[in-house]
């Protein structure tokens, strides 16, 4: 199997789906001649032409509103938000309109739209090129929220998202784009939206994460293994719908739960998972449910020291795993 980076996997999925279905098109800032600022659509304008690779004006609300209207007609738009931090002007079209369109028309309208959003920090992006935006979409019925962590998942899940008739918020952690490499099959494949994946089996502590932080959890699990602690790493892959079965099965097995994410701790995904475990696995727990998340400040600041202070690290995760295992 060939090895590729996350951004190469994204590009490969987009290209294959555009070849496969003429209704699929991409639209966003600089996606055409520039090929996108992260080069997700590099070469697409030559392959598919400017009708299907649309350089939009710098106006996120209309990128989303126009994509939504095109989806209503039966196209399968893939609007790109250049950086997650710029999604806010378009949030009415996503949370207010797209999420409600099928429900609010009693099933008459479908929204086969995949919103690609590079998100997350650790790249010296400061307050406006690092944001974690998942909690708001996670909170919104009607949306699907997908957070791949590896090239294999990025490609398989993106292809499924594009073929789905619901609006999908597809969050690509931008630090994984070139940092994370992995094998991707040559042959056609898709991965279902929904199921989590156990990236590492273990019997002592469950650690649930997604995106870049999931890789830090794997590193931490490897580190504590030397101490004889078996950490089971659950990669959510999809935030909405949440794979509650896989989470609960793991927690019931290990009796200990740590949730790790880069997003702010309050009202984040971890809070929901903690509530889930407290509701449905309370009698299996041998330790308090723990969360290791970004602090409640607006994103990771620009200065290296401040960014480091914000980001979850493998060392910090390993320390939490040891604490829970010893509880």
């Amino acid at each position: 199997m060939p090895e590729m980076t996350v951004i190469e996997a994204v590009r490969s999925a987009l290209h294959e789906e555009m070849e496969r279905d003429e209704r699929v098109f991409v639209m966003g800032e600089d996606v055409g001649q520039r090929g996108g600022v992260f080069l997700a659509t590099q070469g697409f304008i030559e392959d598919f032409g400017p009708q299907r690779v649309i350089d939009s004006p710098l106006a996120e609300a209309s990128i989303m509103g126009i994509a939504l209207g095109a989806a209503f007609r039966g196209m399968r738009p893939i609007p790109e938000v250049q950086f997650s931090d710029f999604v806010w002007p378009s949030v009415n079209q996503l949370i207010g309109e797209a999420a409600r369109a099928h429900y609010g028309t009693n099933g008459a309208l479908k929204v086969p739209m995949t919103v690609r959003i590079p998100y997350g920090g650790g790249i010296r992006g400061g307050l406006f090129h690092s944001q974690n935006v998942e909690a708001l979409f996670f909170h919104t019925p009607g949306l699907l929220v997908v957070t791949p962590s590896t090239p294999y998942e990025a490609k398989g899940l993106l292809k499924s998202a594009i073929r789905d008739d619901n609006p999908v918020i597809f969050l690509e952690h931008k630090k994984t784009y070139r940092l994370v490499r992995g094998e991707v099959p040559d042959e056609e494949y898709t991965l279902p939206i929904g199921p989590a994946d156990i990236k590492r089996a273990g019997s002592d502590v469950t650690v649930v994460s997604y995106g870049l932080a999931m890789h830090y959890c794997l590193a931490a699990a490897e580190a504590v293994a030397a101490d004889g602690i078996g950490a089971e790493v659950v990669d959510l892959r999809t935030l909405k719908p949440l794979d509650t079965e896989t989470i609960l099965d793991s927690v019931k097995k290990t009796g200990r739960l740590l949730v790790v994410h880069e997003d702010n701790i309050s009202g984040g995904i971890g809070a929901e998972i903690a509530a889930l475990a407290a509701d449905e696995a309370f009698e299996y727990l041998d330790a308090p449910i723990a969360r290791l998340c970004g602090p409640d400040v607006p994103t990771m600041p620009f200065a290296q020291t401040l960014e480091d202070a914000y980001m979850p690290s493998p060392d910090a995760i390993a320390a939490e795993l040891r604490r829970l295992a010893a509880y």
């Binding site: 098109f25 009708q51 299907r52 939009s56 004006p57 106006a59 609300a61 209309s62 989303m64 509103g65 126009i66 994509a67 939504l68 209207g69 095109a70 989806a71 209503f72 007609r73 039966g74 196209m75 738009p77 002007p89 009415n92 079209q93 207010g96 309109e97 409600r100 369109a101 099928h102 429900y103 609010g104 028309t105 009693n106 099933g107 008459a108 309208l109 479908k110 019925p141 009607g142 699907l144 789905d164 008739d165 619901n166």
Partner: protein
């Protein structure tokens, strides 16, 4: 009141530039494509819509309609515009919440309308999940997802983009009030439509009030249509109380949109009622000015004009009124007796399955 051009013709020169030619509203000749039978039918619709609108308001006061936005004063604009669209046969509509006449002219029955306002099972736009007549009525080529003003403009432009990508000739018509013109998405929608020369008509039903905020607190210009020049497409000011003028502007707008790209048509209308049944316009509207405006009520003026021109007989007009009352009575009784949606359906259609 503002009286703009009584009627207009859009004439494109070789460069696509457009001029308005004035024409008298009571000219004997009918505009292109319009027959005397059309005018008789539109009189019938006008009376039915008004009768329905008044009944809805009454049912709100009786506690049976939770909320309503009246289209009284907008009927000529909406029915004239829809008449042109229906005659064309290939238009799709993104109306807004004051467009009862648009929705009825598109084919909605009085019973369906009343089911919608009372929030009953069988409601055609949203299954009674939304405010009345909000959602989608795809068989009649209408989408209106929300109350967020101007959100439908970018969606309408996207719909038009998709039609163009699919090689279709559909013209998308977006309806909105003067209030929506303040939204950034109105600018974004018009700009994008212009860049891609999309077949879109932007119809601004300017009743000069965004709830209570008068036009001069919303903008310093007198005509929204003037903004079209900044986008590089034509804009027109039409007397929105003149049904034939609104028909003609839309008819020519459709031809222009299909061949050359977007057009903005501002129809100057009146809002005879408060913003909604929850509003009290005595706090902000001058009663004398409102009474003066009512002299130009299109539902009173237009059918009378048709009678005096010999297109409609007084007997027909009387029959339309009694028939409208009968239909609205029937619709009211029907919807009143209908059941609300079953509570167990609250989770239905959250996601497309499969």
């Amino acid at each position: 009141m503002t009286q703009a051009a009584s009627s207009s013709q859009i004439e494109s020169d070789a460069n696509g530039a457009v001029a308005i030619a004035q024409r008298s509203a009571d000219a004997e000749a009918l505009p292109e494509g319009l027959t005397a039978d059309d005018l008789v039918e539109v009189c019938r619709q006008m009376i039915l819509v008004r009768t329905m609108d008044e009944r809805i308001w009454m049912m709100n006061r009786q506690g049976k309609v939770p909320i309503a936005a009246s289209c009284q004063g907008h009927e000529a604009a909406e029915l004239g515009s829809l008449l042109a669209a229906q005659k064309d046969g290939d238009c799709f509509h993104f109306p807004y919440y004051r467009d009862l006449a648009v929705k009825m002219a598109a084919g909605l029955t009085p019973r369906q309308v009343m089911l919608s306002f009372m929030g009953k099972e069988g409601e055609p736009y949203s299954g009674a999940r939304q405010f009345p007549l909000q959602g989608a009525d795809l068989p009649r080529k209408i989408i209106q997802i929300s109350n967020v003003v101007a959100a439908g403009l970018t969606q309408g432009v996207g719909y038009a983009l998709a039609c163009k990508m699919m090689g279709e000739k559909t013209v998308t018509i977006c309806y909105f009030g003067d209030g929506a013109t303040s939204q950034g998405e109105t600018h974004e929608a018009m700009n994008f439509a212009s860049i891609h020369r999309l077949p879109v008509i932007f119809v601004c039903e300017n009743n000069k009030y965004a709830i209570s905020t008068p036009q001069d607190s919303q903008m310093v210009i007198s005509d929204v249509a003037a903004r079209a020049e900044g986008y590089g497409f034509p804009g027109f000011v039409i007397d929105g109380l003149d049904l034939i003028a609104c028909y003609e502007a839309t008819r020519q707008g459709i031809a222009h949109a299909r061949s050359a790209g977007p057009v903005l048509i501002e129809m100057k209308v009146e809002r005879f009622m408060p913003h909604t049944t929850d509003d009290d316009d005595r706090r902000y509207r001058d009663r004398d000015a409102l009474d003066a405006a009512r002299q130009f009520d299109p539902v009173a003026v237009f059918p009378s004009q048709m009678v005096s021109r010999g297109i409609l007989t007084q007997e027909q007009l009387d029959a339309f009124r009694s028939d409208a009352t009968q239909q609205v009575n029937d619709a009211t009784d029907f919807a009143d007796a209908a059941q609300p949606p079953d509570a167990s359906t609250i989770g239905d259609h959250l996601y497309v399955q499969g």
